[in-house]
């Protein structure tokens, strides 16, 4: 898990773009898709996103490994919408209380594609953005306070450690006779105790890390940045790409007459 948080070895084109421009592009696409449940805008966005994947250094199998929970969730959402939504048009499937009609199937497919189209940019963004570069961009370009940004970045490194610590504490407690198996009540109690142990260790680690950072001169004073966070021509292309995909999706849906604002109802 800790290895997957770093991107060493990913030399794809989008990995070189500034995290802020990538974030802006993803935000634009997501915003358009969040406005309407229709299959046209979602499919258009999805096609473009799949075309962009190689630029982020992703392959289909990597995408599946990292994004399978989101993909599965979108699929389940689509399926349940198509059988549970109010029926309209010809009935395609009738299994007692579950019915699927042309109208509900269309809605379900729209839901499924929209789920994919929103989930994929997020996976794409995470796959080609290093947390350290993101922190550099947030502090140097977005002008967020560096104390806050770097503090969060250092704490994030501890999250991976805490995952290991959780396992160790679990074993250490079993060795004291605290069973993590048994009835639901026992397991809940054991998990609470283990969480407290983890919390104590997390606080100790965090205060030692704080001392380390302070001893290296970290504080409120002015600081320099060893890595400059810069915008390049590439970032212009990234933002333009985001605008283009969002606009095409919107245009296609309006032209096809399927544009369907969420809050207006169907």
């Amino acid at each position: 898990m800790r290895q997957e948080l770093t991107l060493s070895g990913n030399s794809a084109l989008l990995a070189r773009a500034n995290p802020l421009s990538k974030f802006a592009a993803v935000l634009l696409i997501t915003a358009v898709l969040a406005l309407s449940i229709d299959w046209v805008s979602a499919s258009v966005a999805l096609v473009f996103e799949l075309l962009l994947f190689p630029l982020a250094g992703l392959t289909v199998s990597l995408l599946w490994q990292r994004g399978w929970p989101l993909i599965l969730a979108a699929a389940i959402g689509g399926w349940s919408t198509s059988i549970l939504a109010p029926d309209s048009g010809r009935i395609l499937l009738d299994a007692g209380i579950w019915t699927m009609s042309e109208g509900s199937l269309q809605l379900g497919i729209g839901f499924l594609l929209r789920g994919f189209a929103i989930a994929l940019p997020a996976v794409l963004l995470m796959s080609c953005t290093d947390p350290t570069d993101l922190a550099d961009a947030l502090a140097q370009k977005a002008r967020l306070p560096h104390r806050f940004v770097l503090g969060t970045l250092a704490a994030m490194r501890l999250v991976g450690l805490m995952a290991e610590e959780w396992q160790t504490i679990g074993m250490a407690r079993r060795a004291r006779g605290v069973g993590a198996r048994g009835s639901l009540g026992q397991r809940v109690k054991a998990t609470l105790g283990q969480s407290f142990g983890l919390l104590v260790q997390a606080i100790r680690r965090a205060s030692r890390l704080a001392v380390t950072m302070e001893a290296r001169g970290f504080g409120g004073g002015p600081r320099t940045w060893a890595r400059a966070s810069t915008f390049s021509l590439l970032d212009l292309w990234v933002v333009a790409g985001g605008v283009l995909v969002a606009a095409l999706a919107l245009f296609a849906a309006v032209t096809a007459g399927t544009w369907n604002m969420v809050w207006l109802g169907s």
Partner: protein, 515 residues
């Protein structure tokens, strides 16, 4: 504002001067340091010794300018300072970047996730211009012997010794005049200790910076320092500095006193209880056996619909645990010694092969210790973890000891004897987290033994312990062995292995095992 070092960053060794200096942590009744008078000339190298509670770490934190906001327990509040403590004639807090501090736990000495960024961190905070930072980073990495690593190498992939050397590089890149090391090698294996010591020696020879190091193991630092200062817990009557002088003189004059205080003076191995009769190997009934065992800490991972079994760190390991016999598991760092021991202890599931308990040990609980319930496990196999705090489950020493017996419904009578034997009687009402390192270690051994296991497994029980706790532990374990308990210890400590006797299982480095 802090005076930032010039861009060329030449090192000016720092001077330290303390006059009647004292410090009381917030919420504590007694001061950690009282009435300290000490002068350290620029470029001097000083080893700070003394019993726990003498305020060594407090002094180092104060010199680094990080004392006051947060104490060791992470509590904030009002603290008391008396007298004066100056670095180059100014308050340490106002001298940000003049001193660099390294602490004990390697994990918290690393700040960022890439090697180059981590070394640059301190220099960035001191507002060193960007063009001057990267040459400093390269130089610092070369000085600590890590220049073979690419700058984007993940810091999580480093060993403990490498992490401490990386921390030293981060300090060196700040070009401090004062280097402060707070037990920098206590958590490291013997190779790691030498790595760090040599890196410190090289960088001091080059920069001429002043050094103050706190460490129990004198032999590691003796030839590198030119002065030893022994502190004692301060009070109104006694000065904080007990002894002060060249290493050989201090060690000659105070050898007995230092050894009695638990300091590891060179060439001193504390006397321990000998075993009543060394049993022949293979004697004692078989309790637990590992056959063709493959071990890993990782659980099987889910990747989409597939389940990927973990890659074992060790495979095909065989071992026998016999009543009244000691078994030492040794080998280099990362060889999977602890993982093997935890698998043997029924805490991790074997990746391949099996761990089986004989009827004498299982007593109806089944053959596979991993499948035992927690209550069944603790009265058969007891495991003492490297970090005692991981095993504390209550808020009071007495409750800690009674926890196992209460769950089992028997054995509460043994608690009194264990308290007595491990010198914990005065501490029954204390919170386990507030104990000293040695007390925590003794408590963690006692709590596991309170459930009367037939097999005792210990993971690096002597790491970071002073000579007194070490000797007590070795003597106590030899008593247990004579009483018929099997003792398995994962250890780097050759003297400890020798004191317990018995068999040794040496594990080769993990690279030798085919994935």
């Amino acid at each position: 504002m802090a005076p930032s070092p010039d861009a060329a960053g030449t090192v000016r060794p720092a001077a330290v001067s303390a006059r009647g200096w004292g410090w009381r942590h917030a919420g504590r009744a007694k001061p950690a340091v009282h009435g300290l008078d000490l002068d350290i000339a620029p470029g001097e190298r000083l080893l700070l010794l003394g019993p726990s509670g003498a305020g060594k770490s407090t002094l180092l934190h104060a010199l680094a300018g990080v004392l006051g906001d947060i104490n060791d327990d992470g509590e904030a509040g009002d603290a008391d300072e008396s007298g004066s403590l100056l670095v180059d004639g100014a308050l340490p807090r106002a001298r940000r970047g003049r001193a660099g501090l390294m602490q004990q736990d390697p994990e918290t000495q690393v700040v960022l996730s890439r090697v180059g960024d981590d070394v640059a961190f301190g220099a960035e905070n001191l507002a060193v211009p960007r063009d001057a930072i990267w040459p400093r980073v390269h130089e610092a990495l070369a000085d600590v012997g890590l220049s073979h690593l690419p700058l984007d190498h993940p810091t999580s992939a480093l060993s403990g010794g490498q992490k401490q050397r990386l921390a030293l590089a981060g300090i060196l890149a700040m070009r401090p005049g004062l280097i402060l090391l707070d037990e920098p090698t206590a958590n490291l294996d013997p190779d790691g200790v030498l790595e760090v010591r040599d890196a410190v020696a090289r960088s001091l020879d080059k920069t001429g910076a002043t050094l103050v190091v706190v460490e129990h193991r004198v032999s590691v630092w003796k030839d590198l320092v030119d002065r030893i200062v022994v502190l004692q817990p301060g009070s109104a009557a006694d000065p904080a500095v007990l002894l002060d002088g060249p290493p050989d003189r201090v060690l000659n004059e105070a050898r007995t006193m230092l050894a009695a205080a638990g300091v590891w003076v060179p060439g001193y191995v504390p006397a321990t209880r000998a075993r009543a009769a060394a049993p022949a190997s293979g004697a004692g009934s078989l309790l637990l056996a590992a056959e063709q065992l493959g071990v890993s800490r990782e659980r099987p991972r889910r990747r989409g619909f597939r389940t990927i079994p973990p890659v074992p760190v060790q495979e095909g390991v065989a071992a026998q645990v016999r009543a009244g016999q000691a078994l030492a598991i040794t080998g280099p760092n990362g060889a999977g010694k602890s993982t093997f021991a935890l698998t043997l202890a029924g805490l991790l599931e074997p990746v391949s092969g099996k761990v089986s308990a004989t009827l004498e040990l299982s007593r109806g609980a089944g053959i596979d210790p991993y499948k035992w319930k927690a209550e069944q496990l603790i009265s058969r196999v007891g495991t003492v973890f490297q970090e005692p705090e991981h095993q504390f489950v209550t808020g009071k020493v007495l409750d800690e000891l009674l926890f196992g017996p209460r769950h089992l419904g028997h054995g509460e009578d043994r608690v009194e004897e264990l308290l007595e034997r491990l010198r914990l009687t005065q501490l029954v009402d204390a919170n386990p987290y507030t104990l000293s390192g040695g007390e925590k270690r003794r408590l963690s051994v006692a709590t596991v033994l309170a459930a009367s296991p037939q097999v005792l497994i210990l993971d690096e029980p002597t790491f970071g312990q002073d000579a007194n706790t070490w000797a007590e532990l070795a003597s106590f374990l030899s008593e247990l062995l004579d009483a018929g308990t099997a003792v398995v210890s994962v250890t780097h400590d050759a003297e400890f292995t020798e004191a317990l006797g018995g068999a040794e299982l040496r594990m080769a480095a993990a690279e030798a095992v085919a994935p």
